[in-house]
């Protein structure tokens, strides 16, 4: 019963997110609307944490494997992209590292300057 209820809440919010994506003319996907709806519902106590926690954590726990089928889809588009694969690969890898380092370092710097906490909250 607990899991059915949790699944129902999560999938209903997912549906509402996709509905908003269909209704509003903004380039925001349903998953992001759903993310915001979930956050607001939790924050304003419309939904309590224990009403979504177990199923939510299960989905997050297995999230990595969800990217595999889309990645395998590469074999379908391979013919289109193989010609430029070296440049694309190079740019993607190098800029990803740059963005990661810059974002991390800038955040570190501002956190230190503004005396932000380094502690893990419980």
């Amino acid at each position: 019963m607990k899991y059915i209820g949790q699944l129902a809440i999560i999938l209903t919010i997912t549906f509402l997110g996709e509905a908003l994506n269909n209704i509003l003319p903004l380039p925001v996907p349903g998953s992001i609307y759903g993310f915001l709806i979930m956050l607001l519902c939790l924050q304003f106590k419309i939904i309590k944490l224990n009403m979504v926690k177990e199923v939510g954590n299960f989905l997050l726990d297995i999230m990595s494997v969800m990217f595999v089928p889309a990645a395998v889809g590469l074999i379908v588009i391979w013919a289109d992209v193989s010609q430029n694969i070296v440049e694309i690969f190079l740019i993607c890898v190098v800029t990803t590292v740059i963005v990661m380092v810059v974002t991390g370092k800038v955040t570190d710097l501002v956190l230190r300057k503004s005396g932000g906490s380094n502690e893990r909250s419980s």
């Binding site: 997110g17 992001i32 997050l60 297995i62 595999v68 503004s114 909250s121």
Partner: protein, 227 residues
């Protein structure tokens, strides 16, 4: 053989999970970042499909049921963020500055490297939204007139790169604060980076989740300026 596989969606689901588990076992045994479960699973599935001459449609009959969980899983990223909301409020300025500079860095570094590598303009536009989640990235690419398949490929390479080397990069560059690590993973490598951040720690996961939403929306606004 083909008919047998076409008649059951569970082939695609089973092969995905089994190869992923093989990836996890390899990673636990050798402790090498390159033995990333997503990467191993992806390569092994392609190997199996190629060796047995199975087409992607047959595989994806089951695979799509795994992909379909991605939208509710993304919605659930709000849960770890909610649990760390106090941390977000307390460090709001640093977080917003970090993500914003990350997004601008992403767009301008792609611009710069496209010039260096003398990239076709069409290719450049298609790669531009590579650091954000697929659903937003494809939308932007479409809006700007890019090639969708190139965008999907770039988003994939970026995500897997972040997932594979993110932890090592943060160590090498001494990015230690869990807030900074999370923002770095999410802003550079969207949901695939975030799935790694969730494995590293709660704060890392929460901050990375936040980055997906904010970096995605910021890129929608800023990408047209880089045309």
């Amino acid at each position: 053989m083909k008919e047998v596989l076409n008649n059951s969606i569970y082939f695609g689901i089973a092969i995905t999970l089994i190869t992923y588990i093989i990836g996890m076992k390899l990673k636990n045994k050798f402790k090498l970042a390159i033995l990333n479960p997503i990467l191993i699973s992806f390569l092994l599935v392609i190997l199996v499909l190629t060796v047995f001459n199975i087409d992607y449609e047959s595989y994806n009959q089951g695979g799509k049921y795994i992909s379909f969980l991605l939208t509710p899983a993304t919605v659930c990223l709000a849960i770890p963020l909610y649990q760390q909301l106090g941390l977000l409020k307390k460090n709001f300025k640093a977080i917003i500055i970090g993500i914003s500079i990350g997004v601008v860095t992403s767009l301008s570094s792609i611009f710069l490297f496209s010039i260096i590598l003398n990239l076709d303009h069409l290719l450049y536009i298609s790669i531009l939204p590579k650091s954000i989640t697929t659903a937003i990235g494809i939308g932007i690419s479409e809006e700007l007139g890019g090639i969708q398949t190139i965008t999907i490929l770039s988003i994939l390479i970026t995500g897997i790169t972040g997932n594979v080397i993110g932890e090592s990069i943060c160590k090498i560059f001494k990015i230690k604060n869990p807030i900074s690590v999370g923002l770095a993973m999410g802003t550079s490598a969207h949901a695939v980076g975030t799935s790694k951040a969730l494995e590293i720690g709660e704060i890392e996961g929460a901050m990375s989740s936040l980055s997906i939403a904010i970096a995605g929306l910021l890129t929608v606004v800023l990408a047209p300026l880089f045309l």
